[in-house]
């Protein structure tokens, strides 16, 4: 009997069955306080449309899906085998197609091809508002995609480039948003010089302020490594949250403020008000996304970027070459904070409202998921990951509530993180360098620099 369970095929099928059950329950109906088992029973017993064809019980749908997927994959596999055999046999047509494919792949690496790809993407982004007729979608794209993208780009500098896991990243976002509220005179604290400034003024102020906080936080904490840094930043994020939540006299406390004005532009005869129509917000934010994107990508391929990589890979060696690790780490913090600060301005000036619950730890995790999903350290990966994950999230969140519960978001994101770490720890589109690093650590040929170290360097006597 024991040998039956030890059979790898049985084990694999068992594992798959368990995961399938989990998925059925995960996507099933909600339980409730009064009927805690309703979620489980409903997950199997309820009915569900199968592509509109018929309406069986949910588990039947999943079973059918599994069969279809297994069937399709084996078909694809057969085709693939056939393809390879034909290619090997030298079949002309097939070989030609294969060659073209390989060449395209090669060309994608080429600079000009990449640039034209980016141009197409940008053109699409510029045209996007005309594709969606429902204006609320533009709002959502700004608030649920572009803002997240800005944040992910910033966190990518901290976590991807410099290798520092920052779980309190949301704090800088909060600082940006609250600075906007402060500068425009919407907080109990009087605005600077008693003037209710134009919201545009908030952009530089918020960025500078966030960077300053990044430096102030970074200098003491960045001596810590790995898990400890993560926990301290998490603590910092919570403290910022609790502060803004409780300081009624300063931040308005847990009720926040709803007095922030729309963005507006008064320069002599030119006047423009960013009002209810979300399109201008979309373009403004898009412009900043592109600016940050360009700036960060040249940063990555600069001396600064290389120094980060050096510190990330081997801090001791980097220091022995004359690189000041703390300085570079603090800088990564400050740069990451800048983009979060700006994202805060966008959010505050578009929702006209800031309130503490936006700035909980979950938000940091959400951003982290984007960075990790796409591929830490790879700007392309982060943008693509951000668009895919956040686009899907935005779509589901704002679909009618009967279909998807927004509260389940973190269940899916959490599962995604675990699955990613097991199968694709470097992300879906990692930078080549990051992928190498991960595989080298795993092979034991490179030190794991994120190894937890408490306090100062552990003594390593020469052997």
């Amino acid at each position: 009997m024991k040998t039956f369970f030890q059979n790898p095929r049985v084990q694999r099928s068992g594992r798959t069955a368990l995961i399938l059950l989990l998925i059925i329950v995960m996507t099933g109906p909600e339980g409730s306080g009064t009927q805690p088992t309703a979620g489980f029973t409903g997950s199997f017993g309820n009915h569900m449309s199968f592509f509109g064809l018929f309406y069986p019980q949910r588990w039947v749908v999943f079973l059918l899906l599994t069969l279809i997927v297994v069937g399709l994959t084996s078909l694809v596999k057969m085709a693939h085998r056939w393809w390879i055999e034909r290619q090997r046999a030298g079949n002309n047509a097939v070989a030609r197609v294969a060659k073209t494919l390989a060449a395209t792949k090669q060309r994608a690496r080429h600079r000009s091809t990449r640039l034209s790809l980016y141009a197409v993407a940008l053109a699409f982004a510029l045209y996007f508002p005309h594709l969606v007729t429902d204006q609320s979608w533009q709002t959502l794209v700004v608030q649920d995609v572009l803002v997240y993208l800005l944040l992910a780009l910033g966190l990518n500098v901290v976590t991807g480039f410099a290798g520092l896991l920052d779980l309190g990243y949301v704090a800088f976002y909060a600082i940006g948003a609250y600075t906007t509220a402060w500068v425009t005179g919407s907080l109990p604290t009087p605005p600077p010089f008693g003037v209710h400034w134009n919201t545009f003024v908030a952009i530089p102020v918020a960025i500078v302020f966030a960077m300053l906080c990044g430096v102030l936080l970074g200098i003491p904490t960045l001596r810590l490594r790995g898990d400890y840094l993560a926990i301290v930043t998490l603590g910092f994020g919570e403290i910022v949250y609790l502060f803004i939540n409780n300081s009624y006299g300063i931040t308005g406390g847990s009720t926040g403020t709803n007095q922030i004005p729309f963005l507006s532009f008064h320069l002599g005869p030119i006047k423009y008000l960013w009002g209810l129509i979300p399109e201008p917000y979309y373009y403004l934010t898009l412009a900043f996304v592109v600016i940050f994107l360009l700036a960060f990508s040249s940063l990555e391929h600069s001396r600064v970027g290389r120094s980060w990589v050096a510190i990330r890979e081997d801090e001791v060696a980097a220091e022995s070459l004359g690189i000041h690790p703390l300085k570079y780490k603090v800088m990564a913090f400050a740069i990451g904070a800048a983009s979060a600060g700006f994202a805060g301005v966008v959010t505050a000036s578009q929702t006209l409202f800031v309130t503490p619950p936006t700035f909980t730890i979950s938000f940091s995790i959400n951003i982290l998921v984007l960075v990790i999903f796409g591929g830490m350290g790879s700007i392309f990966g982060v943008v693509l990951g951000g668009l895919v994950v956040q686009g899907f999230v935005a779509y589901l969140t704002h679909s009618p509530p009967s279909i998807y519960n927004a509260a389940d978001l973190y269940m899916y994101l959490g599962a995604l993180l675990v699955v990613m770490m097991i199968y694709r720890p470097a992300g879906l589109f990692p930078s080549r360098r990051r992928r190498r690093e991960v595989s080298q650590v795993e092979a034991g040929t490179a030190p794991d620099t994120l190894q937890v170290e408490i306090g100062a360097h552990r003594v390593q006597e020469d052997v």
């Binding site: 290389r306 890979e313 980097a318 220091e319 022995s320 070459l321 690093e437 490179a446």
Partner: protein, 269 residues
């Protein structure tokens, strides 16, 4: 100038109750190839770490004097400051940035002493470009010098042991040091590579005027390369002298071959 480049006086380094270096005094002349030998656990790497600011010995003084005659105390300085002053090093188990290419590894060394230049880096201004060109040029020169030009775009982790050692030397040299500390450069290399390595180290001194301080177990290499040696045992200097003096020093033989081993030493003499 016959000045000393390193002047180490009575250095004692302790970890908790363990004495790792005990009253070590040594000095290195400018342009000298100096070696430190000793059995495992004798404190050689601790000495290197003290010389480069990784450890701060509790007692004694370590002074480094550059070619302009500017002298500084190393103890209490951070490694990056020591590096900026003109001290470069390699590590026992070579510590390249293993996910980077050979070229990138060296380039990091070549540009590490410049300022931050974040804004410039983001904007890619002309000054930044000029800088990049300069670093690239220097990197190419060094690749040529250590003979790694062909492997410029190879990932460091897939280099052979010998090539890694040369890469580490080039990376150290890229920081434009006055003294290069080599921690067991020959470990894991094959005899042919050892010969090339010795040649390279000599060229570093002769052509670049960089002093060499060397830890090495391969006695053949040490004896042929070093002009003077210090022998460390249990954290103390037990002998000092030229290779020939060291080879015939009974204290050294005892440290290496064991107390009851005088017989062997005599027999083979």
């Amino acid at each position: 100038m016959s000045s000393l480049i390193f002047d180490v006086q009575d250095v004692t380094l302790r970890f908790g109750g363990v004495v790792s270096l005990n009253n070590v005094t040594l000095h290195q002349g400018r342009g000298e190839i100096l070696a430190i030998i000793g059995p495992n656990g004798a404190g050689k790497t601790s000495l290197f770490n003290s010389l480069t600011g990784v450890y701060a010995p509790q007692e004694g003084s370590i002074r480094f004097t550059n070619s302009q005659g500017k002298s500084m105390s190393v103890i209490g300085k951070k490694p990056f400051r020591v590096s900026a002053a003109g001290v470069a090093r390699t590590f026992q188990a070579s510590r390249m940035f293993s996910a980077m290419t050979t070229f990138e590894n060296i380039k990091i060394g070549a540009e590490s002493h410049r300022g931050l230049g974040v804004v410039g880096a983001m904007l890619k201004g002309p000054a930044t470009r000029r800088d990049e060109h300069r670093s690239d040029k220097r990197t190419r020169e060094l690749l040529e010098f250590v003979g790694l030009t062909a492997q410029a775009n190879t990932i460091a982790a897939s280099l052979s042991y010998g090539a890694r050692r040369r890469l580490e030397i080039a990376r150290g040299l890229a920081t434009q040091p006055e003294v290069l500390l080599l921690d067991e450069p020959a470990a894991g290399t094959n005899p042919a590579e050892k010969i090339e390595l010795a040649e390279l180290i000599r060229r570093v001194r002769d052509e670049m005027g960089v002093s060499i301080l060397l830890i090495e177990h391969d006695m053949k290499l040490v004896m042929s390369l070093a002009e003077r040696l210090y022998v460390l045992n249990f954290g103390s200097v037990i002998a000092e002298g030229t290779p020939d003096e060291i080879r015939s020093n009974p204290v050294v033989i005892e440290a290496y071959l064991g107390s009851a081993d005088t017989g062997v030493a005599e027999e083979t003499k």
